[in-house]
């Protein structure tokens, strides 16, 4: 698989390590009343879809960026990639 790195262009997926569902960017509030249940969901439960999946890859043998890759888990087709930093900042701006 080639991952279309937003800054460096197409790169061999072997240069990356895999973390999992991009929902892991949305860490729950540890001080909230329902924090225990929210953290159980966050740490242990997954949507695990067959089809389009947004997921976190780390460009370890590269520029050490976290990248949010959109990929089809049935065909392995890669549909796009964004810097996780941009995704997180946009989410923060949207929430503010």
């Amino acid at each position: 698989m080639l991952i279309p790195h937003p800054l460096l262009g197409p790169r061999d997926a072997q240069e990356f390590t895999y973390l999992g569902d991009a929902a892991l960017l949305n860490r729950p509030d540890g001080m909230a009343a329902d924090a225990q249940a929210a953290f159980n969901d966050y740490v242990y439960l997954r949507d695990n879809p067959a089809g389009v999946h947004r997921e976190l890859w780390f460009h370890e043998q590269g520029d050490r960026s976290w990248v949010v890759v959109t990929r089809n888990t049935v065909t392995h087709e890669i549909l796009g990639a964004e810097l996780a930093r941009d995704v997180a900042l946009a989410a923060k701006a949207g929430a503010a």
Binding site: Y18, Y44, N48, P49, A50, E55, V74
Partner: protein, 416 residues
């Protein structure tokens, strides 16, 4: 139809015209007492033990493809009970004992061959860890022997003992471990279940659950609605997909694991050899093919095929361990979808929906568990209490903090 030597002899005289299909191909009835979703090893074993051991009831197995078309037909056939943790080892040893009596039990040749497994040791720390594991196995009634370097050399002299990075310093041997014919296991359980009246319904994909007031009433399938008293789901890599139909998010990710087989060779490898440090393991099938594999690819996948980097990684591991494997030509590569759980251990439990039960999270180790998984799941379905050896395999153990993490890597399924 019972198999026996006499029967084989008389059929030979009659031109083999008396053999019949091993099971019927029935249409689904409107309703069953128990419906098992998934006609793989675990689903068929569950139906078999449910119908033969626990209950006289109407039982059906629903399979979206053909029986045994998933991981029971895609694994590398290894059976063993060499786990460390007290929540795992008694269960896998129970499975090992069921393997030992399996062929007599269901009157079918599953080619169970206790040719032994050696886990190789490369460092003092690894020897300590394997000594501890061996002791844990002995405590659970299994067998284990710690081998030194020369004992390993006598048993498997063709390995590269002086690899610069991973010199072989010894091994942990379980003599009762070995291999079994994976398809034969599925066929044996299917035939046994069919003979006691279980309906094995193929080409019948579950598309949804009918749930009323928090209780499962039946299943929507591609062959119409099927009513059910209790539903047991045992669909391995498809667990997320099927259980989403019941509105459940699970502590499971689906990953692809590749396996490899070479051309048939003369007898070379006496048992199963695992090279954990180099992500490689190998055995030899009765047909002579070297059957080997390594790690999962590492990313979520439902594709039943992997990518070339892991092929290269496995080949490198093979070359590092036994350089002569470089002369063997590869015949086939394939992939299967693993239900990787958050702690690397399985789940056999009720779900929040009454009457809906889950058997999942087998990671890449489900084959060896087939008999015990089926037995324990049937026990749970029939009695609503977990089997003694499967008490720890609870769905809510993550929330309660009772994870069973053999490798100690945490909630990172692609590392288990």
């Amino acid at each position: 139809m019972k198999f026996s030597g006499l029967r084989v002899f008389t059929e030979a005289l009659r031109g083999h015209k008396g053999w019949k299909p091993l099971w019927r191909d029935p249409d689904p009835q409107p309703a069953y007492d128990y419906v098992i979703v998934g006609g793989g090893g675990h689903g068929l074993a569950t139906a078999y033990y449910l119908a033969t051991t626990f209950r006289k009831a109407k039982v059906a197995v629903l399979e979206k493809g053909w029986l045994g078309s998933g991981n029971i037909g895609r694994n590398t056939t290894i059976i063993r009970s060499n786990y460390l943790l007290p929540d795992n080892e008694p269960f896998y040893e129970f499975s090992m004992k069921l393997w030992e009596g399996l062929e007599q039990e269901f009157n079918f040749n599953a080619m169970v061959s206790q040719r032994g497994i050696v886990n190789l040791i490369h460092t003092d720390a690894q020897r300590d860890a394997y000594r501890r594991r061996g002791n844990a196995m002995l405590l659970a009634g299994a067998d284990a022997e710690l081998l030194d370097r020369e004992q390993v050399r006598v048993m498997i002299p063709f390995l590269n003992f002086d690899n610069a990075r991973f010199p072989i310093k010894g091994g942990l041997l379980q003599r009762r471990a070995g291999t079994a014919r994976h398809d034969g296991v599925a066929w044996g359980y299917a035939r046994g279940a069919d003979m006691v009246g279980v309906d094995l319904i193929q080409n019948c994909e579950v598309t949804g659950f009918r749930i009323e007031n928090g209780r499962v009433k039946g299943l929507e399938t591609t062959r119409g609605h099927i009513g059910a008293g209790k539903v047991g789901v045992a669909v391995a890599g498809s667990t997320g997909r099927v259980m989403a139909g019941a509105g459940m998010r699970l502590p499971i990710e689906s990953h692809v694991l590749q396996a490899f087989v070479s051309e048939g060779l003369k007898p070379t490898i006496p048992g199963v050899i695992t090279f954990g440090a180099g992500h490689f393991y190998v055995s030899q099938s009765d047909k002579g093919g070297l059957v080997f594999g390594g790690d999962i690819d590492g990313y979520n996948s439902y594709a039943q095929r992997g990518n070339l980097p892991v092929v290269e990684d496995v080949a490198e591991g093979g070359m590092a361990l036994m350089p002569m494997i470089g002369r063997a030509r590869l015949l086939r590569i394939w992939g299967g979808i693993m239900d990787m759980s958050m702690d690397g251990s399985p789940i056999i439990d009720r779900t929040p929906v009454d009457g809906l039960y889950l058997n999942a999270g087998w990671c890449y180790g489900g084959f060896k568990a087939t008999p015990a998984s089926g037995y324990a799941f049937a026990h749970l379905l029939a009695t609503d209490t977990p089997h003694d050896t499967a008490r720890a395999y609870r769905l809510d153990r993550f929330q309660r903090g009772y994870v069973i993490d053999e490798k100690g890597v945490g909630a990172q399924p692609n590392l288990h």
